[in-house]
């Protein structure tokens, strides 16, 4: 039996909705690049500890405010990656011991070195890290982005923060999705008084300025709660507002779909409500939901970052981008150690990436919408 080669037109005619959406999506180069970036970020979050260089919680006053170090690749012409070790020098005015990089001491840098212990994927205990110094005295290390006031390596903290910041985004969106699809679906499907009621609720929610409310709710969380409890509470608080956009999209789609012939046909054929919704309507607007979700994610991430920045969100010892940016609040300190702002880079990148991704999915799902 010879293989049947489909002509382009045939492939087009036989493609499922999902395939069509994917093909249209692939044409937006910016969106595809964004997808890759987002994937890399999440990959980084999963392998956070492996990619980190130093223990993100380990403080060491001697290493306070070290500027970022580059890994030099060549040593007198030979390929030998290394960083400078630190040397303690007594400041003549304050008599305090100040540690600064000493180019004379070259510490070799290697891959897959031993470092601080952690659990890979939360299960496998190991202490291997991607990059690190082979051996050095306690105070030395690879400080790709410098250290903060307490001597903690900023690069490692940034990577580990990715985990929390991105997952809160996901968790928050998941909540919003459930609430939004549920209420939006009911609204669009049943119409009438129920629809009007839910619409009014949505309008009321959207009219209220969010941050004061969040601040109020967040401040009400007891000090005694554990980091995890605070994490979930913050997620809940943030998602309580963003569900409105998802509800709006869902409602719009349901309203449009209700009138579609294929839905009426299914009803006439005797299919139950649930089956119609799940089997017939859901696939039609799945891509719209994906688009709305990717546009909602950056909002969540920024919300958490803002709250934590204010000190009302996640609390140390949790690490998130917002918490990292808290250290940058004081302009005088910042002037002396501008690398404290480095958390801004992943925040901006992720926001842009999700926005382009969302735009791309939205255009692919409904080019005329």
């Amino acid at each position: 039996m010879t293989a049947i080669v489909l002509s382009n037109d045939d492939r087009l005619a036989q493609a499922t909705q999902l395939q069509l959406t994917w093909w249209r999506f692939r044409r937006h180069r910016l969106a595809v690049v964004s997808l890759v970036i987002v994937a890399l970020f999440y990959l980084g979050a999963v392998f956070a500890d492996f990619l980190a260089v130093a223990d993100p919680h380990a403080t060491d006053a001697r290493r306070s405010f070290i500027p970022p170090q580059m890994i030099s690749l060549f040593d007198n012409g030979a390929f030998s990656p290394h960083v400078s070790g630190l040397k303690g020098v007594r400041d003549p005015k304050t008599f305090k011991l100040v540690y600064t990089p000493d180019p004379a001491r070259k510490l070799p840098v290697a891959l897959f070195v031993h470092g601080y212990p952690y659990n890979l994927f939360g299960l496998i205990p190991t202490d291997r890290h991607l990059v690190g110094i082979v051996d050095g005295q306690g105070v030395d290390g690879v400080f790709l982005l410098g250290t903060d006031q307490l001597g903690r390596d900023l690069f490692s903290r940034l990577i580990v923060a990715t985990r929390i910041s991105l997952s809160i985004g996901l968790a928050g969106v998941a909540f919003s999705l459930m609430l939004g699809i549920l209420l939006g679906g009911i609204s669009g499907l049943y119409g009438g008084t129920v629809d009007t009621l839910i619409q009014r609720v949505i309008e009321v929610v959207r009219s209220i300025p969010t941050i004061p409310l969040w601040m109020g709710l967040a401040a009400a969380l007891p000090n005694t709660w554990s980091v995890t409890q605070v994490y979930f509470a913050i997620t809940l608080i943030i998602s309580l507002v963003s569900w409105t956009e998802l509800a709006r999209v869902t409602r719009g789609r349901f309203l449009a779909l209700r009138e579609e012939d294929f839905v009426i046909a299914a009803e006439l054929a005797g299919a139950g409500q649930m089956r119609i919704i799940l089997r017939h309507m859901l696939p039609s607007f799945a891509s719209h939901i994906i688009a709305a979700t990717s546009l909602a994610l950056p909002v969540m991430i920024v919300s958490e970052t803002s709250l934590s920045f204010l000190g009302l969100g996640l609390r140390p010892p949790a690490i998130s981008w917002g918490i990292l940016l808290q250290d940058a609040q004081n302009v005088q300190v910042l002037a002396g150690a501008p690398w404290l702002l480095s958390a801004a880079v992943p925040v901006i990148t992720v926001i842009l990436a999700f926005n382009f991704l969302g735009d791309g999915v939205r255009d692919a799902a409904d080019p005329y919408g």
Binding site: S207, L213, G216, A219, A220, P222, A344
Partner: protein
């Protein structure tokens, strides 16, 4: 048309009611009540309160009554203008808040005006002169506004200002006016200082509105009535501004409907970074210290003023669109 206005008014009232309930919940959320916090506060200073005194206080503040009654009592006082006493400052809340609430509204409203004034012309230009240099600049601006959260932008600006210009980029008044009574001089001082925080606040919204205006105008420019307009022999400028822009104003206006709450919200965080004498820093302090009457009042008043601001922008939309005016709906 009256129908429409009436509906919006009723909605606004309901929203205010909802805000008041939410605020009340927030006030009462922390464990314990006002009296407990008061006692704890005094204890820090070394004084104590006997159980009898505490009970008496509770009776006085109505804290021994059911929650619904407490809400009623509180709302009753609020409507009469009595917002309670701040625990931290030991003065009436209204005194503590003082000008801050109006300054918050001033900054937010300035940001709103700035957003419209910048986004509208740039959006129009961007669509009318597609692919021109101006269009690309506008698009880039759009991305910056999109990508950088406002507090981060404020932070970066402060850093740049400090590092390269040696200035403290913040505050709404020069020191001499800060504590002075209101005068024309102070008003002018405020006007001079408003643009920077207003711009920081406005950037994100501006970016979004530019995109919306550009996209919608591009769509409208392809429609038949634009050809009709041109076929009349009127200038291109007039033809574009009078017809397709008018049509594209509709989605522009509805996108700005919830702009005001967003700006008020953003002003809280931005004012914290830039050190503005608005409600933001005060609210944070109040929440951290669990000074609940102060915090609750701020949240309530912010909410109400925002609803009023949103109502105004709704009415503006209605005035623009004749189909709503004549048929009661779009």
């Amino acid at each position: 048309m009256l129908n429409y206005v009436a509906r919006r008014l009723v909605l606004a009232l309901i929203t205010c009611a909802a805000i008041s309930v939410l605020t009340f919940i927030i006030i009462r959320l922390p464990p314990g009540d006002f009296v407990d916090a008061y006692i704890a506060n005094l204890a820090v200073g070394g004084s104590t309160v006997s159980a009898d005194q505490a009970a008496a206080m509770r009776r006085e503040y109505g804290l021994d009554r059911p929650l619904v009654v407490q809400y009623g009592l509180w709302m009753g006082k609020v409507v009469a203008g009595d917002f309670g006493v701040s625990m931290m400052w030991k003065r009436p809340v209204t005194e503590v808040i003082g000008d801050r609430l109006w300054l918050t509204m001033a900054v937010s409203f300035a940001a709103l005006l700035l957003t419209w004034l910048i986004a509208l012309p740039i959006g129009i230009y961007s669509a009318a002169r597609q692919y021109s240099i101006g269009d690309y600049i506008a698009t880039t601006l759009g991305f910056i506004g999109l990508a950088i959260p406002n507090f981060l932008l404020a932070l970066i600006l402060m850093y740049l200002g400090f590092r390269y210009l040696g200035l403290s980029v913040g505050g709404l008044f020069t020191p001499e006016y800060a504590q002075a009574a209101w005068s024309w001089g102070k008003f002018w001082d405020l006007m001079v200082h408003l643009p920077l925080p207003a711009m920081v606040l406005a950037l994100a919204g501006t970016a979004q509105l530019i995109r919306i205006m550009r996209a919608n105008l591009l769509d409208e420019l392809r429609k038949p009535y634009v050809v009709t307009a041109r076929a009349k022999g009127i200038s291109e400028f007039r033809a574009v501004l009078k017809y397709p822009v008018r049509a594209a104003l509709n989605p522009f206006a509805s996108s700005s409907a919830y702009l005001f709450p967003y700006l008020v919200s953003g002003s809280i965080v931005v004012s914290l970074v830039l050190g503005l004498p608005t409600v933001g820093p005060l609210l944070l302090q109040a929440l951290v210290a669990q000074d609940m009457f102060l915090a609750g009042t701020i949240v309530l008043l912010l909410g109400v003023l925002t609803v009023i601001g949103t109502l105004i922008s709704d009415l503006l939309l209605m005035w623009i669109e004749p189909r709503i005016r004549l048929q009661g709906r779009a």
